[in-house]
Amino acid sequence: MKYRRFSLILLSSLFITLGLATACFAMPQPTDRFYINDAANILSEETENYIFENSQKLDQATKAQIVVVTVPNLEGKDLESYATELFRTYGIGDKEKNNGLLLLLALEERKFRVEVGYGLEGALPDGKTGRMQDQYMIPLLKENKWDEGIMNGYKAFFAEVAKETGYDSDMSPEDVAGEEELSDSIAAILVVVFYVIMFIIASKKGKGGIIPGGHLYGSSRSSSGGHSSGGFSGGGGSSGGGGSSRGF
């Protein structure tokens, strides 16, 4: 009885600490719709759906990820480090290609930032992202036209990323991703076949113990590169702080 109460206290204190730890810096965590997180609650359902669907298709075809996040405020941080941290926490873009793009709006501060992953810096140098913001977004955001501003900008940046990655909206995901996925699955099959053969040989010799447990699972899993097929999550991409910021 005493023991139970003790463990109860221990558990609850653990939860309280956890709660405190997460409350300290409440950066909006990725939702199950990863590509769009309207934490400031300023976008319409249609805009959100449009962004979600298009980013999802782009991701499935090219592994490039475009994420739109709106936050009520930056919690005292500066826009640039907030954006870089969010970018890295989300892991936007593919881990190897780093082809992620983040569009971040801070409502209270009235600031907008485009943060570009390493892999897209060639297609979207800082100066260009600034010009694109000036051209497509800032005039609209100045008039609090959130939906139009974000939508306009999203489309413009989407077009640039699509051009860079060779994505065509008519394309089905298999057209672009086919080759890589195929080689991945062939590799996985080869690994399985190898282990089966090894297993057969080993058991024929009368000793079944040469295969370490769990190894098979580990190796077939690693070939998928952490990019889950159900996939609304970051690919582990990073950014070095490239992009541009604007006030509106």
Binding site: E80, S81, T84, P125, D126, G127, K128, T129, G130, R131, D134, S239, G240, G241, G242, G243, S244, S245
Partner: protein, 191 residues
């Protein structure tokens, strides 16, 4: 006889274990040290990019701000200082000085609407701001690895043989306090 060989085997095994332990520790430190160097070269790349951008900026600004020779001069000399810096500390200091000089110049540029409307200038400003931000990010990444490295060589048991292997503490890349603050503008055209 048999007992003797058992002892030898045990001693041999202990030596092998110890050697393996030392090797893995050594390799761990080498790997971390390499990571520190790699992160520093990231900073260096961005510092280089920054020094490359300055002449363009000065050229585009000159025509508009002919009265602000002083501010422009400060930027150019800070750039030279950065180019001549070699150690981590020197580079950190020079970079801070350049940031200060640039911020000063840009604050003055606020008073030249023609310049601000110039698309070339805007693009340059974005590139510069982006580079500055990349330097800040690279600096943070670098300092994180340096901290990891310094902690690892100071911790037991690495602390015993870190010196023996020739591993010393790595230097942090420090930004001068207040270098990122926008200075108050002394706007005088007579000088």
């Amino acid at each position: 006889m048999k007992k003797k060989s058992t002892i030898f085997i045990i001693i041999g095994a202990v030596i092998l274990l110890l050697a393996g332990f030392l090797i893995s520790r050594y390799n761990g430190m080498v790997t971390l040290g390499e990571k520190v160097d790699a992160k520093f070269s990231d900073i260096d790349t961005q510092l280089q990019r920054r020094t490359d951008l300055i002449p363009n900026l000065v050229n585009s600004v000159k025509g508009y701000m002919s009265h602000e020779q002083d501010a422009i001069e400060k930027v150019t000399s800070a750039r030279t200082q950065l180019m001549n810096a070699s150690s981590v500390a020197e580079k950190g200091e020079a970079d801070s000085a350049l940031t200060g000089a640039l911020n000063n110049l840009l604050a003055i540029a606020e008073n030249y609407p023609d310049l601000k409307a110039n698309e070339n200038f805007t693009t340059l400003m974005d590139e510069l701001a982006g580079t500055e931000n990349r330097i800040a990010t690279a600096r943070k990444d670098y300092n994180d690895v340096v901290k990891e490295f310094n902690t690892s060589i100071k911790q037991f048991p690495n602390s015993i043989f870190a010196g023996m292997f020739g591993f010393g503490e790595k230097e942090y890349f420090r930004a001068q306090e207040g270098a990122n603050e926008v200075p108050t503008v002394q706007f005088n055209t007579t000088e």
